[in-house]
Amino acid sequence: MMPASSSLKLLTFSHKNTSLTERDRLAYTYDQIVDFIPRANAELGGELGIVSTCNRTEFYRYGPTLDDLWAELGPLVADFKDLDLDSIGSPVGKRGVEAARHLFRVSASLESMALGENEILGQVKDAHRLILEADTDSSTIERLFQFAVRAGKDVRTDTALCEGTVSVSSVAVDLAQKIFGDFSDRTILLLGAGETAETAAQHFSADGASDFLVVNRSRDRGAALADKFNGRFAPLDDLQQALAESDIAVVATGSQEPLITRQMLQDVTQKRRHDSTFLIDISNPRNVEPSAANLPSVYLYNMDDLQSVVNANKEARREEIPKVESIIDHYVEEWEHWLQQQRVTPTISTLARYFEDARQRELDRHDGLSEDERSRLEAFSKGLIKKLLHDPITNLREAVDENALSSEELEFVWSLYNLRDFEDGNHED
């Protein structure tokens, strides 16, 4: 059983306090985590959990309090990762409730570089799974990670922190999906064959698009890009026909004049029997006449429009932070309550056994009692013990319910009756 003086401590190396090079050196693979946890637990005592992602490596330890955890854990890390301890900066440390709060904030993605990103919750889930796989007694730290996963899930279901995308290319894909659903039977026109068009094509391809049509002034570059995506090439003269065949058009050319006019799009929509057309004009200057946006089945977004959606999404995420914080507060309270329960339950049961043992020993000292006298003394002593223990036990339980019991106070109860010696069988009369 973990001593009542045990505490939670966190050491974090993250993008906030460590360079990318240092983070790379400290990063743990899943196999390494499963290997390292039992080793550290055996060396330091207590329970260790590790969150290791490209932006952070964090050590959460619950166990007997160590004055300087990094002084003890650092050499083990250096040995395991085969690195020079001096080449790594100092971690930021947090303890107790603040350490737990930090993990819940990580899980909620409040500590992420991109606020509201979803990947981190999966990584915290993995960290939780690895604690279980490490096959050591880690019931407390495992419970901490359970709370973290639940907090992360609640944040994603009860707030809009993770809604909306926050990169220009993702926003373009999101908008296209909102118009057409999936891209499996949609044609994507790439007008221009530069890097921007290629990046956009990669995003659409990653989301299921497979039919690409490249229109470019230079045949060689256009055909090369079309080949990359198993698409087709058409010369610039066939632009109107290409538009009529396409549902989505990514316009990214260096032309100084609009290549797509309102009139051209009006004709195209007739040919398309008024099916929707989504135009993403990321050229500078713009290559689609802005007035084309007024046509009924045409949706036109330029770079500024996409950026303003990104900004709006970021702002919307920021506005959710107070709600997220209140979910985290709730889980911090739950964690504290659970932890105190874990500490107080063994205290109460040891205390009860201690008094029962004293009562039994005291009774044994009185030989020669009649059956009736013994039974009356049994009843009297049991009643007395019950009365003596009633208030302390009630107060301990109430203190837990009110989150008002400190580790030191609990430790005082143990030392008051020498309960640890009693547990170890070293108790003397």
């Binding site: 994603r156 279901t157 009860d158 707030t159 809009a160 993770c162 809604e163 909306g164 908008l175 999906q177 909102k178 118009i179 057409f180 659903g181 929509t269 398309r272 029997r273 008024h274 099916d275 929707s276 946006a293 009924p296 089945s297 949706y299 977004y301 429009d305 303003s308 959606v309 709006a312």
Partner: protein, 275 residues
């Protein structure tokens, strides 16, 4: 049996309120995990509702279309069933809150009009007449569903055009899905309504002989609406209409139909009244 039916009649609005709550929560929150409980609950309650209508018919020995309470309950069931099929089809429960709200409103009206049905009209024991009413109601439900999907299309399209992307943008399914659902609901509504009206004409002819439609504006309005919807669908198939045009057609077609019916019913009275 009567006590059981009375109990279910009270339970149904309560159940729809609970389901509305589930769908509202689903719409407002971003939970996209599979297995949304509201969908299963809606199917369950629609099953119970159907059973209730069947048992009510058996108990009272007539098709449950005789009273206003029964009519509204059938309307609630038909809209709910149409939506539930659409949800199954496109696997997205985010539009449910709007439809369940309508279902709930119709079922509450049914509960308000409940009570002693009095003398049940003899024609509601006639299977042909009753099939006419049921088909017409289901056709009407199809048009209701179509108009609501049309409205959603217009709202989402406007958000996309104005670049003001709010809750509607985040929660509604893609435009292509809304357009497909609106068209499918309108097509099935027109087919069912057409069959219902044809049967109605047959019943009326069998009972009253040749009818002068000008003497029966309710039938005239229903026939004109059906012809309008059918013409719209043919034009859309032949020439192609944009999603927005189809949305406006579904929405304003429905509103015009309702407005015309309301005027006719208040000014001229119904051809066949409900008690």
């Amino acid at each position: 049996m009567a006590d059981l039916l009375n109990l279910v009649a009270v339970l149904l609005p309560a159940a729809y309120v609970a389901i509305f709550g589930l769908y509202l929560r689903h719409f407002l929150n971003s939970d996209e995990s599979p297995g949304f409980a509201g969908s299963a609950a809606l199917f369950g309650v629609l099953g119970l509702h159907s059973l209730y209508m069947v048992l009510l018919g058996i108990e009272t020995q007539h098709f449950p279309i005789a009273t206003q309470a029964e009519f509204f309950s059938l309307l609630a069931l038909s809209v709910g069933a149409s939506y539930a099929l659409a949800e199954r089809w496109h696997r997205d429960a985010n539009t449910g809150v709007f439809f369940v709200a309508i279902v709930l409103a119709f079922q509450l009206l049914s509960a308000l009009y409940g009570g002693d049905p009095g003398a049940i009209p003899e024609r509601t024991r006639n299977p042909v007449y009753s099939t006419h009413v049921i088909l017409t109601v289901f056709g009407f439900a199809g048009l209701t569903v179509s108009s609501l999907y049309g409205l959603m299309y217009i709202m989402l399209s406007q958000q996309l055009k104005s670049r003001q992307l709010g809750l509607i943008f985040r929660r509604l399914p893609p435009l292509s899905v809304l357009e497909k659902l609106s068209k499918a609901a309108m097509t099935s509504g027109v087919v069912l309504l057409g069959l219902g009206l044809a049967l109605g004409h047959y019943v009326a002819f069998a009972q009253y002989g040749q009818l002068n439609l000008l003497d029966h504006p309710t039938i005239l309005v229903a026939d004109v609406a059906w012809v309008g919807y059918t013409a719209g669908l043919i034009v859309s198939r032949a020439r192609g209409l944009s999603g927005t045009q189809m949305g406006y057609f579904a929405l304003f077609g429905y509103l015009s139909f309702m407005a015309a019916m309301a005027v006719v019913l208040t000014q001229f009275g119904a051809f066949h009244t409900f008690q």
